[in-house]
């Protein structure tokens, strides 16, 4: 089976700093892979590189049928990468001037060219499915953090990408909402998608991830089944990560 996402020896430099030093990982369909690491370990940058928002300096990224190479991504139009990957940002970046429903409809209408009425119907169904169907007319600033996140997930899902990237989705959620989110994401994986999720939250990763990759100083230092990796850490960085978590509690 070919992976939905395959990263090989990914390298990225910014000035004198090595941000990523040869990271390799793969995410299969129906799999939720968590990317863990201390702040500054390169997690978010890696997601941005997969979405071609950041150029990289070495290695390869393959997203579905699209191969990204080092340097700035100069896609043909329409950009084939966009059919393969969706992204939910840590701070959501919902379009401030549009209602929740219009945020979800925008890409289907203007990128895929859907009928507006049909697109709105599907968008409303997606919002309903994610538990924010009643917030369709609200503007982004009227939404709570959890509601905004669900609208952002709906916006990404509206284009039906096989791979979904989520940057720190658990960061601003209380435990009950974290569980609800985990269940939603697990459902998405079960429905055939691949998910790559950055997180600081080892309980969340234990409960919902199928695999985990630990990043430290731009390298993947440990990877495997979440329960094995997190309950019996072999690498110093993994232990430091778990220690920082328990120190914070």
């Amino acid at each position: 089976m070919t992976a939905a996402l395959e990263i090989r020896d990914l390298r990225m430099r910014r000035g004198e700093r090595d941000i990523l030093r040869g990271v390799s990982l793969a995410v299969e369909r129906r799999q939720l892979v968590a990317l863990m690491g201390l702040s500054g370990s390169g997690k978010s940058t890696l997601l941005r590189a997969v979405a071609a928002l950041e150029p990289f300096d070495g290695g390869t990224i393959r997203v579905g049928a699209v191969q990204l190479a080092a340097g700035v991504w100069r896609p043909p139009s329409p950009d084939p990468l966009r059919r393969e990957v969706g992204m939910v940002f840590q701070f959501h970046h919902l379009f401030e001037h549009l209602s929740a429903l219009d945020n979800v409809c925008l890409a289907p209408c203007h990128v895929r060219g859907d009928e507006p009425a049909a697109a709105r119907e599907r968008a409303a169904a997606l919002l309903e499915q994610l538990g924010v169907g009643h917030r369709g007319t609200a503007r982004p600033r009227e939404l709570s953090g959890g509601e905004a996140q669900r609208v952002a997930i709906a916006r990404a899902l509206a284009m039906d990408p096989p791979l979904l990237l989520l940057d720190e989705p658990t960061a601003s959620l209380d435990p009950a909402r974290r569980r609800a989110l985990g269940e939603s994401l697990a459902e998405l994986a079960d429905s055939g998608r691949a998910l790559l999720v950055t997180s600081h939250d080892d309980d969340f990763v234990r409960d919902f991830a199928d695999g985990v990759v630990i990043l430290a100083h731009g390298e993947a230092v440990e990877a495997g089944d979440p329960r094995q990796v997190l309950d019996a850490p072999r690498h110093e960085a993994t232990r430091a990560l778990l220690a920082a978590k328990s120190a914070g509690e």
């Binding site: 928002l53 966009r82 992204m87 379009f95 203007h110 503007r139 600033r141 916006r155």
Partner: protein, 480 residues
């Protein structure tokens, strides 16, 4: 005898008016020469005082005289009932004829104002000639065009923007010498007189100046001056004779002593109100159209500077800096007069272009800042969804930038309403110019100024109010 040196006679005129009245000496531009200079120096020397020239723009001479900025002004100033009512006026020293100048090819066609129905006829604003043209507008259906100077009417006559010019024979003759291809009709439309003007409270000095002028008429010194400047003709000995016999009664029979049956300010205001309103409409229409142009062009420039390549960015930056770094008045002159040999724009179009092109530079800076103020994350989100560069601009970036730009753009619109008064230099009759004419005829700025201010406020206040409402409507409510 008083041992103190006599105080200088401060005399005023406008050296921009040029020969034969007052012009800068080509040998020594610090000095002025001209027939009015010679007359002022003659008067000063007879009064035993040194002459000192004070430069005052022609349109401001009356107001300055009333304020007492100088002792006396000589500058081909016409004797009018309004001046007699508000100022002290000397005996006339020259009789001129208001003559109609046309292109040589039209001599047979346009013999009088009556032949010019529906056609534009130019003159200097605030003069008797302009009043005559306003009369002809009602009587013969001509279109009266007012200029701020007496050179451009003839240039525009030559290049076809107007079909005739009505002005003093002195100016007409000078222009015909300078510009071949013009011809002046022999019959005078009206007759007028040049006088010196002083503040109302300077009657004593005026009487002494009258004495000097009468003496110069008697002994031929005035004739010598007028001959020297090539304006002597058969009308002058007759005028001098009438002045010396004290039988000169001034224009339309009014005398300074009794004053014209003066119309009250409010009566005048009621008469002028329709003209002020139509000038206000001109201001409003011109401002709206110019602002529309400025917003469209400013958006294009801003987008070009944010998205364009190096060459287009450099060119657009140069445009913005040149426009912002030079006076708008200069830009208006270049568009209207400077380009006249290439493209002869009608005054309204030139004004619209001048204001629009100028404001576009300022608008573009607002829009560029607004586009750059849209957070990076919004653009990332659009990109990840697959929106192209222009789709992102149209659907995400521009609508958000629009809100940032709304308040400063409204500010600029209010500024445009007021800056549009500058286009009166292109003969567009807008509110400030009309007010100035009203004030000149009335001899006071109080009522015209108040009416003019009220009309500007009536236009700008609703605009500011509408902007506040729009901003409130689009303001994003705070999260609960």
């Amino acid at each position: 005898m008083d041992a103190q040196p006599a105080a200088a006679l401060r005399w005023a005129g406008d050296s921009e008016g040029g020969a034969p009245y007052i012009e800068a000496d080509s040998q020594n531009p610090e000095r002025v020469v001209g027939l009015d200079v010679d007359i002022a120096e003659l008067v000063a020397s007879e009064l035993g005082r040194p002459a000192q020239f004070v430069q005052i723009s022609f349109a401001s001479l009356d107001q300055s005289a009333a304020r007492g900025d100088f002792d006396i002004a000589f500058d081909g100033i016409e004797d009018t009932p309004a001046r007699r009512a508000s100022l002290a006026v000397t005996v006339p020293y020259y009789e001129f004829r208001e003559v109609l100048t046309v292109r040589a090819a039209d001599v047979a066609r346009f013999r009088s104002l009556a032949d010019l129905r529906g056609r534009p006829v130019a003159t200097l604003g605030g003069t008797t000639a302009y009043e005559l043209l306003l009369g002809a507008e009602r009587e013969h259906g001509i279109e009266a065009i007012s200029y701020d100077d007496d050179v451009h009417p003839y240039e525009d006559l030559l290049n076809g923007r107007v079909d005739a010019v009505l002005l003093d024979n002195v100016i007409a003759e000078r222009s015909m010498r300078r510009m071949p291809g013009l011809a002046t009709q022999p019959d005078a439309v009206a007759v007028g007189y040049y006088v010196g003007i002083l503040g109302r409270d300077r009657a004593e000095l005026r009487d002494r100046v009258d004495g000097v002028l009468r003496a110069a008429m008697t002994d031929g010194r005035l004739e010598a001056i007028l001959r020297r400047w090539l304006v002597w003709n058969d009308d002058q000995p007759k005028l001098h004779g009438r002045v010396l016999q004290d039988s000169f009664n001034g224009p339309s029979g009014d005398s300074a002593a009794t004053g014209a049956p003066k119309r009250s300010g409010w009566t005048m205001a009621r008469q002028y109100l329709p003209q002020l309103l139509s000038a206000a409409a001109m201001t409003l229409v011109l401002s709206c159209l110019s602002m529309g142009l400025a917003v469209c062009l400013g958006s294009v420039i801003a987008i070009g500077r944010v998205y364009g390549g190096r060459v287009s960015r450099t060119l657009l930056t140069a445009y913005v800096e040149v426009i912002r770094g030079t006076p708008i008045l200069l830009q208006l002159f270049v568009i209207y007069y400077g380009l006249a040999s290439v493209v002869r724009l009608p005054a309204f179009i030139a004004a619209l272009l001048g204001l629009g092109l100028n404001y576009a530079a300022y608008e573009s800076e607002i829009y560029r800042g607004a586009l750059q103020a849209v957070p990076r994350g919004q653009l990332d989100a659009a990109r990840v969804l697959g929106l192209g560069k222009w789709q992102t601009l149209r659907l995400v970036r521009a609508p958000q930038a629009f809100r940032f730009a709304l308040a400063p753009t409204t500010n600029d619109f209010v500024a445009m309403l007021k800056d549009s008064s500058l286009v009166s230099v292109l003969t567009v009759m807008e509110l400030t110019k009309q007010t100035q004419i009203f004030a000149t005829n009335l001899g006071s700025w109080v009522i015209p100024g108040a009416l003019c201010a009220a009309l500007y406020l009536a236009m700008s206040l609703p605009l500011a109010h509408a902007a506040r409402r729009l901003e409130a409507r689009w303001k994003v409510p705070e999260a609960a």
